[in-house]
């Protein structure tokens, strides 16, 4: 196996980590204003991810950095080509991050209400846009011979990719609801289960449509079919366990759905990364878009040492903050 393949796998792993962790993070953010009835309930919902959201978001940053380091042309083509979408996403992420930290700093309902909407929008918009991005990656877009995409935002908002965006939103919402069902108590957890099941139904319907469309409109299923199947099974199992009231396994199953969906996408693309819809010769793959063998070697050594270290302390953090959070103003940390 050459280093280009290793880095393709590593980028896949980073996106798995990103979608798995930020998946429930975004879901929690989307659900926060919908589930909670008063300020301490909202705080309880936020605190389920309070210590974690920033570390979770670093998976996205690292995935971006890894693309830059290992496949600089992919980074350059994707980020310049999807310019306006990324501007919108950056605005959303700025609002969201600030909201988590600034919301409680004033005891003013208007102030808090504004930040609540920032959390909602700041979670919904990136979830949708990442879905749209993934949809376009699967379908390909008009990359020219110089590896540039000139089409602007509108062609990226095609029905197929928008459907992918909706799948992401629904799936992440269900995933987030399952996380909340695990982390909250009493009526609030009950509401999370209820919303979670509705989101799960929406995700299932959308996912079925999306998989069928994918089968006909792309070649992702040629190599990705088995993972699509696993993702579908996990999604169905998630609903079944949610119905049984088994919070833990329901969460495990939406996690697996996210993981297998991500693998499906990357396995379907391999060895391509950005498909050109103009000419297959213009497609960016793990060889024509990569950094030099020397740079890849250096980065492989760094990743081999530090990815496990990061995993150890990040998992430890989740252990420290394990257990359910009560919507009780006496015990909540603001």
């Amino acid at each position: 196996m050459d280093l280009n393949i290793i880095w393709f796998i590593l980028v896949t792993v980073l996106f798995i980590g990103f979608f798995f962790l930020e998946g429930f993070d975004y879901g929690v953010g989307i659900l926060m204003p919908l589930l909670s009835k008063d300020d301490s309930e909202r705080r309880a919902v936020i605190n389920t991810i309070g210590p974690h959201w920033d570390g979770n978001e670093v998976w996205m940053i690292t995935a971006g950095g890894a693309l830059f380091a290992a496949f600089p042309h992919v980074y350059a083509t994707l980020f310049s080509g999807f310019y306006l979408a990324l501007v919108l996403m950056l605005v959303a992420l700025i609002l969201r991050g600030l909201a988590f930290e600034y919301r409680s700093l004033r005891d003013d309902p208007v102030w808090r209400n504004r930040w609540d909407w920032a959390i909602f929008g700041g979670s919904l918009v990136p979830a949708l846009l990442w879905g749209v991005t993934v949809g376009n990656l699967m379908r390909g877009f008009a990359i020219d011979a110089d590896m540039n995409y000139w089409g602007g935002l509108i062609p990226l908002l095609n029905p197929y990719s928008l459907l992918a965006g909706l799948v992401f939103v629904a799936l992440f919402t269900a995933h987030g609801a399952n996380f909340l069902a695990l982390k909250l108590e009493g009526a609030l957890a009950e509401r999370a289960r209820k919303f979670g099941f509705q989101a799960w139904m929406a995700a299932t319907v959308l996912a079925v449509l999306f998989l069928i469309w994918t089968f006909f409109a792309t070649d992702i299923m040629v190599q990705g079919f088995i993972f699509a199947l696993l993702a579908a099974v996990a999604l169905l199992a998630a609903g079944w366990y949610a119905k049984q009231g088994n919070d833990k396994l329901a969460f495990v199953m939406t996690s697996l759905t996210v993981v297998f969906t991500t693998i499906m996408v990357f396995a379907g693309l391999f060895p391509r990364i950005l498909i050109s819809s103009l000419d297959a010769a213009y497609t960016l793959d793990i060889y024509n878009a990569s950094a030099s063998p020397y740079a890849l070697k250096v980065m492989t050594i760094v990743a081999a040492i530090f990815v496990p270290v990061v995993l150890i302390y990040q998992i430890w953090t989740y252990k420290v903050f394990s257990g359910r959070i009560k919507a009780d103003p006496e015990t909540l940390i603001y």
Binding site: Y102, M147, V310
Partner: protein, 449 residues
Amino acid sequence: MDATILARWQFAIVTIYHFFYVPLTLGLAIFIAIVETKYVRSGNEMYKKMAKFWGKIFLINFAIGVVTGIVQEFQFGMNWSEYSRFMGDIFGAPLAIEALLAFYMESIFIGLWIFGWDKLTKKQHLAAAWLVAIGSNLSAIWILIANSFMQNPVGYTIDPETGRVLMSNFAALVFNPNVMLQFPHVLFAGISLAGFVVMAFSAWHLLRKHEVKFFLTSFRMAAMYALIGSVLVATIGHFQGQFLIEHQPLKMASAEALWETEQPAPLSMFAIINEKEQKNTVDIGIPAMLSFMSYNNFTDEVEGIIDLQAQAEAEYGPGDYIPPVTLNYWGFRAMVGSGSLMMLIALLGVYWGKKDDLVDKTLFLKAVVYSAILPYIAVSTGWILAETGRWPWIVFGLQKVEDAVSPNVPAWNVALSLVLMLVIYTVFTIVAYKLAIKYGTGEIKESSH
């Protein structure tokens, strides 16, 4: 306006804003870790309250530093895709390593620090504080390794086929002599800035004779911290100047508005600059001082902009190699002037802080409150010099700014994002500033959450 100019404005705006927050994160993280170490060692609850009180200011600042940092990472690909392709081998690696080594560490341990007071043992919590401090400073090292290549390229070859920069020696990249100067310069800038912010809020409370013991202790620690930081940042800055004379002579010559080669060269104190005619209509300086600052003797020749421009044309072909002279001349003076005032104020703070009648020195305390602006002026003008002084290069000697911009992003897109970012950054900087004032001038709480 074309996309390149807009993209440059956008980069300048988001980067200067981002660097309002970064140095406070760097310096205050270490300050808080020191305070918490005192708490764990002595068991004195006051130090715990201090860690929490200054921790609140830290968090307000850290949050906006984090979210503006995402823009920093994305915009190379978004606005500077040709740069990203050209430099991917060199620039991507430190950026990815920064995320892997530093961002995870600071982001995860800050979560433990905020929410972990009752969940962790004292020592674990202290470890979290130090890991946040180490993580944020590691982040500075890696981004400065990336920036240092742009200032002083090392450890690379040029791909004969594609013309791209290829990494050939990772160790050379990491141990770039520019990093060895730039990192400590930034680190001590952060330390002095954090010292001034803590001093300023402490002085505000001392003026009102409010919680005197708590804020006198904070003031004393911060004054010493600011003194160490500002003296070292200036000392290292001096050696950076000497390094620049050798490696980026046009940057230094423009910062001194030295048009003609002179032997010995005077150090200009005040100049009215005419960039068009390439001369200073008024120039008051200290004779031979620039020679001394540059080469440690009063006799050496210092090359001027006009000669250096001719040399650059001979080496790189025809073109304009002169950085914005007026901007750099006054920016440099603003930086050095602020730094000098900071050393003086920090020294007085250490000296008067030892005495118990500090609370009665109201004039000095008032000056300290307002002096918190000085390090912000210094860090902003410092970066403006470092980045605009490289003109016309984005990567010194290798790629020009005009060749680096994304060809496929239309000007109106950049204009839109520029306006959006400017508005958002300005609004949230005001919000963060107001929150910092609210908490920095607020009550000390047992639980600051």
